[in-house]
Symmetry: C2
Subunit: 304 residues, 2 copies
Amino acid sequence: MIKTEFTSYIRSLQNEICTAFEEIDGKSVFREDYWERDGGGGGLTRLIEKGPVFEKGGVNTSTVFGELPDPIRQHFNVKEGWFWAGGISLVVHPVNPMVPTVHANFRYFELYEDAEMKKIKDGWFGGGADLTPYYLWDEDAHHFHTVLKNACDRHGKELYPAYKKQCDDYFRNRHRDEARGIGGLFFDYLRADDQRSLQDWQAFTQDTGSLFLDAYLPIVKKRMDEPYNPTQKQWQEIRRGRYVEFNLIHDRGTLFGLKTNGRIESILMSLPPTVRWDYDVQPESGSREANLIDVLKNPRDWVE
Amino acid sequence: MIKTEFTSYIRSLQNEICTAFEEIDGKSVFREDYWERDGGGGGLTRLIEKGPVFEKGGVNTSTVFGELPDPIRQHFNVKEGWFWAGGISLVVHPVNPMVPTVHANFRYFELYEDAEMKKIKDGWFGGGADLTPYYLWDEDAHHFHTVLKNACDRHGKELYPAYKKQCDDYFRNRHRDEARGIGGLFFDYLRADDQRSLQDWQAFTQDTGSLFLDAYLPIVKKRMDEPYNPTQKQWQEIRRGRYVEFNLIHDRGTLFGLKTNGRIESILMSLPPTVRWDYDVQPESGSREANLIDVLKNPRDWVE
């Protein structure tokens, strides 16, 4: 059964990712909160804080089920229904402004006609991964996108271009006309169709998830010892403000969680630890900061 | 004409408030940005930053007019229309966590049938003021509410209780089931009716605006030299995170500004300068921090 398999997949991925992050941080360890959801299911929140490498990071898994909450019923325009949703979701905010923030999420959703969850009406996968640098090395963006493209290519050459574009379109602070970061992949509603079964999409989603560490860790290792000064730390905190703006104003997942009475501390764990809003910051023309803004305003192709 | 009078009122109130804030800060002065709006009108943004008393504060006035933007047409369910809107809006974030943050806003809106803005279809006042302490002295909350109540009482005994309640209802982080602060006044759509003319509401709005400094400044003076430690500063920054959450998730004014392509830096000037999101912060039972949360969860009556 897909949901049993996927549940065991996300749990083992959570372990693998947390172990790798603890190893690289070398000092802080993840604390764990198990929570239950009124109405069915629960989650395992894991949080690392105040490490030498990771200032704050959360790696969550949850499997929730039951009657469709009001906002979802409205969204799908159905009178009644039951669901199961399982996923892993992570955001990591490094200390060093030379190390990018990363976000990834892999999820499966099933809809049922009956409360016993036996008559499956629909099922789909969704997810993705995206990178938010504060100082940009083109080679890092190239590496991140190349790993994700390779994951996609195994399942179809058309996938990477499509999901890369969806990522650029989705993670956009439209009120500032700039992207949140340099993108990655974003996919949703991957259903069985003429070309692929649901199991094919499961394999695609799990492959992408399993390559996440390959995409991100080499960048952390390469940049975690880069020197930086207080002004560069301040730039990181200002840019983290843009991250907050995206998550609270535009992110469907966050707003959905808040509307459906999710566990607030797990939903807002994605927010950065320290943030600044300075008035009307304009980086000097030709600076690394100005270069970043330019790239965020005009998303690039990072892989040939 | 109301709009001419109100424009000159908000400009002189802006001057008065900025002068008073500069005097009390003693060091920083307001910088000024004049901006114009595509489609008609503009504003005068004034910002004070990094002072010994005020870490960040903005006092804006704007008068904008023209064709109704799409989101407003949808909101009022009209096919076409023209408008004029003038207002003053301010938010001040003090350095010292013992000094509360304050927000106030006073505005007038007119709707027309014609592009020449001669046939007035509707007009109303709105506004209010509210206080967000990080450490609470009951006497400060009492003082703030008493001044606002006195402003209201001159115009009708029923006004304060109604607008105090609307303030508690509006400035609420529903996703956390707590108020943003200890409230104040919130009123909107004050139109001519059987009991009061539009000029009566103008007098009420302007009276409230003119008493703003009486409500807030004595609290600043009383608390600005209170000692505080880094843990208390950290608590202020965590609570400022809740302020950001309210403004970006719930505040109609902010979201409206973002949707109608307002000037981003002026709209988001209300965001605090430095902010923290720590995971699952739970103040110790019986502490001043726990007392604040208790008051925010259960809004009180501050005036007999």
